[in-house]
Symmetry: C2
Subunit: 342 residues, 2 copies
């Protein structure tokens, strides 16, 4: 028997028909127990694996999910937000548990990715990951829904959105940051990050922080808000821009850790002490947050659970079952950058 063994090979060896082999392998209840055992033993011994192409063709599905990671439109060898890496691990593991293979691809937002997967039967459903301008994105999501391509995305969870989103409670996370900064005595809190409906996650973080301040009789000052994308150099530039405004501030809430780390460099280079002069809080708890000096206080999202939920929801959708929007709780890790620990 040259080449890979087929179900027909096994059928011959087991003295049964090929469909019976197929049934036995798929665990059909209408196969005699003793027959099944014989077939399984032979399959095991030949190291037989069901041919994915044949099976997929016949069943009209791929047994595969696709993870699309959107990169910010930086044309260089772009660094994807490290926040997504643990999620990647969690997603791969969850796929394995659900018997799904995982295709991965990096996309530009501008790419023509929306037709690529479903129509070619490469994947039964899509997982969409990546920050970026939501409004620019939205059109394609609508198109996916029209095509009937099952998909889930990580991002802001909003009422009337095309498709299914799973995200963390960004408002709650912002509130945690605001409450903490109030607790350590800060009042003039700058916000670094694009707080518009183009970046609804950032906007929610802003709003949450503002809520916390308002509950204490204060509020965020728009004059202390500077746009920034989730990247170190963007945070660096935003902090310089903030300093250039000449307004007093005693804390920075950055929309992401990358922004926070970039901002810390800019502030420190300008002679400001962290946390004495400026307390910093970030968002994401990427590995670098612990390594930064001082270590960064930040809002933690449960990326592991996030990955699992994304896969579970998508598997439901692929099977035509309902799945729910979910908003995951956040928590705060307090480190030295906010001055709350020695």
């Amino acid at each position: 028997m040259r080449g890979k063994p087929t179900s027909l090979d096994i059928a011959h060896l087991a003295g049964v028909s090929q469909p019976t082999v197929s049934r036995a392998l798929r665990g059909s209840p209408m196969v005699n127990e003793e027959t099944r055992r014989r077939i399984l033993a032979i399959a095991e011994q030949l190291n037989y694996k069901v041919d994915k192409n044949a099976s997929g063709l016949r069943r009209q599905h791929a047994g595969t999910l696709a993870l699309l990671l959107f990169e910010d439109p930086t044309p260089d060898e772009s660094h994807i937000n490290p926040f997504f890496f643990p999620m990647l691990g969690s997603i791969t593991r969850a796929c394995a548990r659900h018997g799904q293979d995982l295709l991965i691809s990096f996309q530009q937002f501008s790419d023509d990715w929306h037709a690529e997967y479903g129509d070619s039967h490469k994947a039964d459903g899509l997982i969409l990951l990546g920050y970026g301008d939501y409004l620019a994105h939205q059109g394609k999501l609508t198109k996916l829904v029209e095509q009937g391509t099952p998909f889930v995305r990580w991002g802001a969870v909003m009422p009337d959105q095309p498709g299914l989103s799973i995200g963390c409670d960004n408002v709650g996370g912002g509130r945690l940051a605001g409450e903490h900064l109030l607790a350590v005595g800060r009042r003039r809190i700058a916000f670094l990050g694009d707080a518009s409906n183009h970046y609804p996650e950032f906007l929610d973080r802003y709003s949450g922080c503002d809520e916390a301040l308002k509950a204490a009789g204060f509020s965020l000052d728009r004059a202390l808000q500077v746009d920034a994308e989730s990247a170190e150099d963007s945070g660096y530039a935003a902090a310089l821009s903030l300093l250039g405004r000449g307004l007093p501030f005693d804390a920075v809430f950055a929309a992401s850790d990358l922004i926070a780390i970039g901002a810390m460099h800019a502030l420190q280079e300008n002679g400001l002490r962290i946390p004495e002069d400026v307390a910093i809080v970030g968002f994401d708890d990427i590995p670098a947050a612990r390594i930064a000096t001082p270590a960064l206080t930040t809002v933690v999202q449960d990326t592991i659970r996030a990955g699992e939920l994304l896969v579970e929801a998508l598997v439901h959708l692929v099977n035509g079952e309902p799945a729910e929007r979910t908003r995951l709780p956040t928590s705060l890790v307090v480190r030295k950058s906010s001055g709350a620990v020695a």
Copy 2:
């Protein structure tokens, strides 16, 4: 026409036979130019995509490569070495360029992964990534070769290895580290990392550093070598163990940046100043190396090029063409941890 369009749909619309559509789409030279254009236009308009399962079944290949990332046997939600992330990006892009889809999976070394892919036609070839005990690994590589599964791995490039390896010039990198430490006046250099044939990459880095020292009339002292895996806590523990030996040293060459960063924490917590008391050099240039305080001097591997080479080599192997072992050059980024900059 409900459902996805097929080549037969296009054939009807174009008034040709279905095989002609197939030929036109695949760019066969024996299709009339005007016919081809008509077919392509219709395909475009219907948003037709070749069914991957059908095509793969007929052609007996998958058009897919699989990336297997091996995790260290830590049972927790293990953190994959961040060194591999840019490589991941590079690999996905290179696959896209070669028209290959990329399947990704995290594996334990102990898993039974070697039969999973080839036999099921899920992927035509494997890319193996991940540090780990090489000797434990080797048996499965041999098995892959026997099965005829095309694969490439990132790792130490050695003479009589099963299969094709691509790696960086670890000896050269170690030499750079050694020469640099000599140049900044250090003589008693500790090495943190498992320098045995279980971890040939680390061993090569050790040897390279030793070579550099010997060329200047010195050498590495085995009494200053402590085993460590590529993880922060392992580096932390190794540094403590080194301190416990009570031997004088004025520099640490860590087998990886993660080890170096863990070690820096341990040394600093024990009152040692970096670089004044101990100069540190790492290996990999992960993002955290820049963020560490002081910023870490380290040996850079060209991960972008590495990813491209891995994919190119694997595509050659899949097509039955020869591919070569390659050893990529390394370079040194000097930062504050080695005391060479202000």
